[in-house]
Symmetry: C2
Subunit: 243 residues, 2 copies
């Protein structure tokens, strides 16, 4: 245990990334309050002061502290405590350690940012570029427009020159998608002083209740898949290679 404590201490002093596993108890007081009884967990202290505590299962850390947290090792007989305090937020987490299985520190260098495709913005871009995916005769007006009343995904005119607001969802649209759309339609009607504004939810599918609420409000649903650029590219390439 002693040598591993020294490793952690050195890692904290040099602001390296630290990973260790410990038999421990945890308490947290901050935005909420949590306690976690004794068990074995993996703890990570990052170079920016982020602290993560992971149980052996599950996606999420069971406890965490945000960047800027100050960690100190204290001896409180008979065990050692890692005190993690975020002064500005008034958050504190205490890890009371009974045993440490391993402890490693490393200075990580990483200037890369993740590149992502296939999110909702890609979807609204796709619809803006080709509104006939929604219905024939649509002409695009704007996309991702920040209004005082909210963020409208795609705005179009239909073949009869009526304003159409399109709300995109990458997955199944729910009640909140409809209430969101409803808010935009109402506010646009009010601000432009026009009576006829159509609302469309564009998503791969929609929940039954959301569909009912859409009908109630005279809106409509269009089933449309979110784009996957690389996958599409791959398919196109394989199609080309058939010839």
């Amino acid at each position: 245990m002693e040598s591993k404590l020294l490793t952690i201490k050195a890692g904290l002093a040099s602001k390296h990334t630290i990973a260790f596993s410990a038999d421990c108890e945890i308490s947290y007081v901050g935005r909420a309050e949590t306690t976690l009884g004794r068990g074995e967990r993996l703890v990570i202290v990052k170079q920016d002061g982020t602290v993560l505590v992971h149980q052996p299962d599950g996606n999420h850390p069971v406890n965490y502290m945000k960047a800027g947290t100050e960690c100190t090792l204290e001896f409180s007989s008979p065990s050692w405590i890692l005190r993690c305090a975020h002064i500005a937020d008034g958050d504190e987490m205490l890890i009371t350690m009974f045993n440490i299985h391993f402890a490693e520190t490393v200075k990580l260098n990483d200037g890369q940012k993740v590149q992502l495709t296939g999110n909702e913005r890609d979807m609204s871009d796709m619809i803006y570029a080709n509104p006939s995916l929604i219905e024939p005769g649509l002409s695009p007006v704007s996309k991702e427009e920040q209004t005082k009343y909210g963020f409208i995904d795609v705005l179009c005119y239909d073949k009869d020159n009526a304003l159409v607001i399109v709300e995109c969802k990458r997955f199944k649209a729910d009640l909140s998608a409809v209430t969101q759309l409803r808010r935009y339609v109402e506010k646009i009607k009010e601000s432009k002083g026009i009576d006829k504004v159509r609302g469309i939810v564009a998503a791969p599918s929609i929940t039954e209740n959301a569909k009912l609420m859409l009908k109630d409000w005279g809106f409509s649903f269009v089933s449309i898949e979110p784009p996957k650029f690389r996958e599409r590219l791959r398919k196109e390439q394989s199609r080309l290679s058939d010839f």
Copy 2:
């Protein structure tokens, strides 16, 4: 590098928790698609097949795979690849490794669950137990009631026997809190065939736009803090100790 690869291989075979840091590139294809250029990261493989990739900064993993992921080590000259595949979800993540700084495995035993107080449910419980926190003369009807139209936090009658729907938020209430409340009020009016249903948002604060929308709909806002049991206990104890 060789010995660390063996450590990882052994950890995968025995389904232990694995932690290692590596100079690597990452690609992911699944619900979306991501790429991440070469850099140094911390990788965790959990006992349930969860995989997390952490950059040296920030709260969230830059890439992750859910429980049930199968990981295999493959050599693809000149580097080793950790292939992480979640068959059921059709997700795949590839970690191409150029160097490994350390690798550790450990079998973690942890049957504990985190105990949390101060969440929204505690807040609605508090209001239900003491509705006068909202206004005098309120009598509670139900809490956390699941209706077809949504989940109503607290339902009361006021001193004039009018139905009151209370929507709680632990932090600043926003537009979606108001639209949520509005949905409940409309649906309760409709289903009970009554005209007078009041709506109240209970939260520590509220955004300006949300306040405007509340007014538009004849709802009201009550400023109320979420409970913090331990903090309250501590204060009560310190008050007792004054005597």
